[in-house]
């Protein structure tokens, strides 16, 4: 990662480049979350999506059909996240442990 780029190209990076802005708001690591593109059905990790970072926000698009999957906008005191382009996200979480009897059936 080396983001000190000249602003003269049509720059696309990998979803991994959005890791920082997503980590500001999500407790789980987002770049290893799986996503499904609602337009074409492609299933990919966030880190493998196509990232447009030289814009007023970060735009993550499908590598297969270019649909907008996620958008993140960082304001002074707010961060907006749009996931309309996704059918779902799947996060890795810890396996639930067995509780000590409190879960009465």
């Amino acid at each position: 990662m080396d983001s000190d780029l000249t602003l003269d190209g049509n720059l696309t990076l990998d979803g991994n480049a959005a890791a920082g802005v997503l980590a500001e708001v999500f407790v789980s690591e987002c770049t290893t979350a799986m996503t499904r593109c609602d337009a074409c059905g492609a299933v990919e990790m966030v880190g493998a999506l196509k990232a447009y970072v030289q814009a007023p926000g970060t735009v993550l698009r499908c590598r297969h059909c270019e649909s907008v999957l996620m958008r993140v906008v960082r304001g002074a005191g707010s961060c907006w996240v749009d996931v309309r382009g996704l059918t779902w996200m799947q996060f890795s979480v810890a396996t639930p442990g067995r509780s000590s009897g409190a879960d009465a059936v």
């Binding site: 190209g9 814009a55 007023p56 926000g57 906008v73 907006w80 749009d82």
Partner: protein, 200 residues
């Protein structure tokens, strides 16, 4: 509290008084911002359309569009990502010219573009000599990454309103948020009032 970095200034430059809105810094180059792949619509397939809340839609081919009276505009531009550029020179067709004779009660417009980008504006922000559809920059046809063949130019608002790769204007009775306005960005975007985000 921030840690100051000894001797760090960045690439920004000071501007002449009164020319640079608050929170903005001057640049010499012309940064390219894009939220998607650069559309490359051949001019033979390009049209410009006025649609929506109008008596009858209008449409121009590229050739017809170039035959419209055009103006040279010298203006400062301000991007919400905090760079400003002074005395940029454009050539384009005034939106007033495009709306001539259009009968509408609409108060808003939604600019729509190749690649799916949209941005919304009050009609009064694109009329009375405030907005153009530009086809050239600095004496040359627009470059693809700067919006070729044509982009909106609304220099008194933040540059995300000056939609690249524009294909037309939809006139609307009710305001309808565009690509960035639907996700945190201000509906109007006046740089002198720092209208960057919702609530600014």
């Amino acid at each position: 509290m921030s840690v100051f970095s000894r001797g760090f200034r960045g690439r920004r430059q000071e501007g002449p008084p009164g020319r640079v809105p608050p929170g903005q810094y001057l640049v010499d180059d012309f940064p390219v911002l894009s939220a998607g792949p650069t559309p490359e619509t051949p001019v033979e397939e390009w049209t410009f359309t006025i649609t929506g809340d109008v008596d009858a839609p209008r449409q121009w081919s590229w050739e017809e569009f170039l035959a419209l009276p055009s103006e040279t505009i010298t203006t400062d531009i301000h991007c919400v990502t905090r760079w400003s550029k002074l005395d940029t020179v454009w050539e384009g067709v005034s939106v007033d010219t495009l709306l001539e004779g259009v009968d509408t009660s609409a108060e808003y417009v939604l600019a729509f573009c190749d690649g799916g980008y949209t941005t919304n504006l009050p009609l009064e922000d694109v009329t009375d000599g405030k907005a153009w559809v530009a086809v050239s920059y600095d004496g040359e046809p627009l470059e693809a990454e700067h919006g070729a063949p044509a982009r909106l130019l609304v220099p008194h608002l933040y540059l995300w309103k000056s939609a690249k790769w524009i294909r037309g204007l939809q006139l609307l009775a009710e305001d309808e948020s565009g690509f960035w306005e639907a996700l945190g960005y201000h509906d109007r975007g006046d740089p002198w009032q720092e209208q960057r985000h919702w609530g600014d």
